[in-house]
């Protein structure tokens, strides 16, 4: 079973990294979105490995099922399909952009790797899956302030969208 877990870890790692590479490097926005979705799937797989299937399924339901569809809608509303209009041109030259992308990717990776390599944690035994009820109690108990603050942020975003929509209608 442990070899299986290692293999799954490797697979998810490849999914995450390849997806991230595609998301950054693809000139076509929809293909970049596909890369992002791949990464999100890989992260969901990692949650599965950590015995948190609820988080994993929520990741798929919300990020893959809703957020990426929303991003797709945004791409669709702002660009025409095919041709160069669907592609993103940057300000900097390609070589400069590659260097910048590598820098922004490698720097956090190097810092994290340094921490992990110098203070390597023992591999922990897998904790038992937390029942859903306990998760809910945590959210409405000790973490209630953070939970409510996040919902306020969402509310603000929604109200902002409505206000923008009304202003657009007035000027039209």
């Amino acid at each position: 079973m442990e070899q299986l877990a290692h293999a799954a870890y490797g697979l998810y790692l490849v999914l995450i990294l390849a997806g991230a590479w595609a998301a950054v490097r693809c000139r076509n926005l929809v293909r970049a979105l596909l890369g992002l979705i791949m990464t999100l799937f890989g992260v969901a797989g990692m949650y599965f490995l950590m015995a948190a299937p609820f988080m994993a399924l929520m990741q798929i339901l919300i990020y893959v099922g809703a957020v990426s569809v929303l991003i797709f809608f945004a791409i669709m509303l702002t660009r025409t399909p095919g041709g160069e209009a669907g592609e993103e041109g940057g300000g900097a030259r390609p070589a400069v952009r590659t260097v910048l992308a590598l820098l922004s990717g490698l720097l956090p990776a190097a810092i994290l790797a340094a921490v992990i390599l110098t203070k390597a944690p023992q591999s922990l035994p897998l904790k038992p899956e937390l029942p859903l009820g306990r998760l809910g109690q945590f959210l409405t108990g000790p973490y209630v302030l953070a939970f409510e603050l996040i919902s306020v942020v969402l509310l603000a975003a929604m109200a902002g969208a409505v206000v923008l929509g009304f202003e657009r209608r007035k000027s039209a």
């Binding site: 929809v30 293909r31 299937p53 339901l61 809703a66 569809v69 669709m76």
Partner: protein, 329 residues
């Protein structure tokens, strides 16, 4: 040899692979059977015989169609994004296979016992929207793109009442495990959730029809307006795969409705998977009946039904359920 095989099959991974293979066979057979059934139902509703020439009562028609679809050439339109164009049918059909895993056909006949089965189905069925988007975008065709735009607006809207109605049942039973929810309804007809939660059942079924893009909510592929919507450019088996995915999603929606609201495998005599299948296919028959009875809604009507009726009713139902559950405790 047999012992080794049994051991391999009893391993969780072996079990899952067996279940996935069985599901794929079921999907293929189901796709052929349902397309025959749909044409026959359509025929009888419109007072014509339906397929009648190939085999007795046209029974061999699905095989002829399958052969035709498989042998046709696959064509990608000029200027299409090849990668997205070919990947879209696969994204459409692959998640359905996973959706079948947690469905409890009977306490024994379940692909995989997971305590979050309902959530798994909801999560993976959401991927279908993405597939329609990719198909619409990748085709380089204005009808396809319009179909994809409609698919997004429709499925994002109808996912909310669907989740609200499912949540009401989950609140009531206190579990997201489909087998546990079905098992909670085995004390006779009165314990079926369709009688306990009739409003939730109606909301679920309407949203389910909209989520599977079936008429009267088939706007993403409205043939009189958009040629064939998102799959205008698909030929041969690529169209066949979209078709297979649609019919499999129908079975998933109806099977979930059976497990959530119609008592699952329970029946008056001999409870077992046959009751589950009978209820599922009765619901599918109702879906086909709807398709040939109601005219297609307009897009503003579609969104009005959702935002002005289903979502407020679903919210009220959910709040009432939560209050009653709390009160009973």
């Amino acid at each position: 040899m047999t012992a080794q095989l049994l051991e391999l099959l009893s391993h969780p991974l072996g079990q899952m692979i067996t279940a996935l293979a069985a599901i794929m066979v079921f999907m293929a057979v189901n796709g052929m059977a349902l397309q025959y059934a749909e044409r026959k139902v359509a025929g009888f509703i419109q007072r014509r015989p339906g397929p009648y020439e190939v085999g007795p009562h046209g029974l061999l028609q699905p095989f002829a169609d399958a052969g035709k679809l498989i042998s046709k050439q696959l064509v990608a339109p000029l200027g299409a994004d090849r990668l997205l164009f070919w990947i879209a049918p696969l994204v459409s059909v692959a998640p359905v296979v996973v959706c079948f895993l947690p469905i409890p056909f009977s306490p024994l006949l379940t692909g995989m016992n997971i305590n979050l089965g309902l959530l798994l189905i909801l999560a993976f069925s959401g991927l279908n929207t993405l597939a329609l988007c990719l198909a619409g975008w990748g085709s380089n065709n204005k009808y396809s793109l319009l179909g994809a735009a409609r698919a997004v607006a429709q499925s994002v809207a109808y996912e909310i009442p669907l989740l609200l109605s499912v949540l009401a049942v989950a609140f009531q039973v206190g579990s997201l495990d489909l087998a546990a929810i079905a098992a909670s309804q085995t004390q006779g007809l009165l314990s079926w959730n369709v009688l306990v939660q009739p409003l939730a059942f109606i909301i679920f079924f309407i949203s389910g029809i909209a989520e599977t893009n079936r008429a009267p909510f088939d706007l993403p592929e409205a043939e009189s307006e958009l040629t064939a919507g998102f799959h205008t450019e698909y030929s041969g088996m690529c169209f066949g795969i979209f078709f297979l995915a649609e019919y499999s999603y129908m079975v998933v929606v109806c099977a979930v409705a059976t497990a959530l609201f119609l008592g699952g495998w329970d029946g008056p005599v001999f409870p077992g998977p046959w009751w589950f299948l009978a209820k599922t296919f009765a619901l599918i028959f109702a879906m086909m009946w709807f398709r040939w009875t109601f005219p297609r809604v307009r897009f503003d009507q579609l969104l009005n039904i959702c935002w002005k009726w289903l979502i407020p009713l679903g919210l009220a139902n959910l709040v009432a359920t939560a209050a009653i559950v709390k009160w009973v405790q």
